[in-house]
Each structure stands twice: as structure tokens, then as C-alpha cells.
């Protein structure tokens, strides 16, 4: 069996399509059992990433495109947003993303501003690849226990 189900959307870098992708991600998250609140978090975080990507892509080219990839696992969703308009090999890009460093990715941080802060706050993991465009990979787990290894388990 495949490790995950993969969806990819390539959209014109225009703000009117952010809501369409948001709705799709909300539907996908619902399929793997996220709670209402977690889906709302995912909607905001993915919209922030897509909005940033659209602004970047549009600066480069009026006909710019943005690619959003979603990997659905049993217990988590991974969302990858790239501000360059061609499909990527999800597994390949995933190997290359890493934590971002404020010193190196100054432009990304500055432009991301409040949006990036929200992504960090609302998602469980955020990674960035800054190479011929910006790629953001963000992960959210369905069950909270999975991300709280260092927290004491409650025994029922």
C-alpha cells in the first residue's frame, strides 16, 4: 500500500483562487478525521502560505503560478506550497527542505511577517527550502498525542 495519497493543485498566482484551495484542503483534512478546530487552523495556515507564494510568484511574472501539494497519511497531512509554477517530486523536495534560519532567509521572513508567525503557531512542523523560489512544507497531526512525546501521557 502507498505511504500516502497525494494531491496537487497548480493555480494561477491570483488572490481569487486562495479560497478555492483553502476549501479543497479543508475537504481533504476532513477525510482523515481532523477536528473542526484543527481544520480551521489548517485553512488559515495554508492560506497564509499560498498568499505569500502568490505575491512572490506574481512579482516574478504576471502569469506566475503556484503549486500546492498535499500528502494525506493516516495520522497527518503534509502541505507543500511552492511559488514557482511547476510540479515537483514531493518526496524529492521533502528531503531537501529544512528549518529556516532568520539570518539566511531574511527576505522570506520579512515578507511572510504575521503570516509566517501564524503558520508556525497553527501547524505542528514547518520547513522551508529557499532555492530558485521558496517552498514551504508544513505538517499537522490528527491526534495531539503524536506530537507531544515530551508530555506526560494521561492514563485512563
Amino acid at each position: 500500500m502507498k505511504e500516502f495519497d497525494y494531491f496537487e493543485m497548480r493555480i494561477p498566482a491570483k488572490p481569487q483562487y486562495v479560497g478555492v484551495v483553502r476549501l479543497t484542503i479543508s475537504g481533504l483534512a476532513n477525510r482523515i478525521g481532523f477536528s473542526y478546530d484543527d481544520i480551521e487552523d489548517l485553512k488559515i495556515a495554508s492560506s497564509e502560505a499560498i498568499t505569500n507564494a502568490i505575491q512572490h510568484a506574481y512579482e516574478e511574472d504576471d502569469d506566475g503560478e503556484v503549486v500546492v501539494g498535499c500528502a494525506l497519511y493516516k495520522e497527518k497531512i503534509e502541505i507543500m506550497v511552492a511559488d514557482y509554477g511547476y510540479s515537483f517530486d514531493f518526496k524529492e523536495v521533502k528531503k531537501r527542505v529544512g528549518p529556516y534560519h532568520e539570518e539566511e532567509d531574511v527576505q522570506f521572513i520579512r515578507e511572510g511577517g504575521l503570516g509566517l508567525y501564524l503558520i508556525e503557531t497553527l501547524m505542528d512542523e514547518v520547513k522551508v527550502l529557499n532555492d530558485n523560489g521558496v517552498t514551504v512544507l508544513m505538517t499537522k497531526y490528527v491526534a495531539r498525542e503524536q506530537v507531544t512525546d515530551n508530555v506526560e501521557k494521561i492514563t485512563l
Binding site: V18, G19, R22, K43, S47, E48, I50, G113, Y117, L118
Partner: protein, 113 residues
């Protein structure tokens, strides 16, 4: 996204905002808020009862509007925020700066058991 403006009296206006506020609709919100004539001691209420989605693009517009009104000598109050929306203002620290009222906390407790 849509906004209806009600002038209560010379000193007070209420703006009823509804729908989704994101990268697409935030510029429209900014434009419509900028149409409100700011006078000294004006009291403006932004009613968020019918806002179903908002992200940082909306926060940016609200913050800019807030600054404009304050610098004109007026005041802004945000009312009717759903717990979700309130949380957005809370985690960004804006709830410490702005006058925000969460939607009927005591009466509409749908959440939890």
C-alpha cells in the same frame, strides 16, 4: 465579503462585516473602511458576527484602520467575534492592544459538554 455601514449618530457608526476575509477580499474591506469619514471623537464599531473566515490579510487591514481612527482622535471597538476569530487576535497579541469583545461568552456556550 461585504460590509454594511450604519450611521447611528454624528459620533457613532457601526460597520457590519460578513463573509470571508482573505487575500482576495481584504483589499475590498480596506477600500470600504477607508470610505468611513473619520472625525475627532468618532466611535466606530466593527461587527464581526457574520465573518466566517479571516487570516493575516484581514488582520493587516483591521490594524491599519485602527491606527487611522486612533490618530484621527476617534475610537474603534471590535464586537461579535466568534471564539475562532478571537483566538486569531489573541495569538497575534492584537487583543492586548485593541478593544475587542468576544461574542456573548456567557450566553452562547455551545462548546464542550
Amino acid at each position: 465579503m461585504d460590509i454594511k455601514l450604519e450611521t447611528v449618530n454624528a459620533q457613532k457608526s457601526i460597520a457590519y462585516v460578513n463573509g470571508e476575509i482573505d487575500a482576495f477580499t481584504a483589499p475590498k474591506l480596506r477600500e470600504q473602511l477607508n470610505n468611513i469619514k473619520l472625525t475627532e471623537s468618532i466611535q466606530i464599531e466593527l461587527d464581526f458576527h457574520d465573518v466566517v473566515y479571516m487570516d493575516s490579510t484581514g488582520l493587516g487591514v483591521i490594524v491599519a484602520f485602527y491606527k487611522n481612527v486612533i490618530s484621527a482622535g476617534g475610537d474603534v471597538k471590535l464586537i461579535g467575534l466568534s471564539p475562532r476569530l478571537y483566538r486569531l487576535f489573541n495569538i497575534t497579541g492584537l487583543s492586548d492592544i485593541m478593544n475587542i469583545e468576544e461574542e456573548g461568552k456567557a450566553t452562547t456556550n455551545h462548546e464542550g459538554i
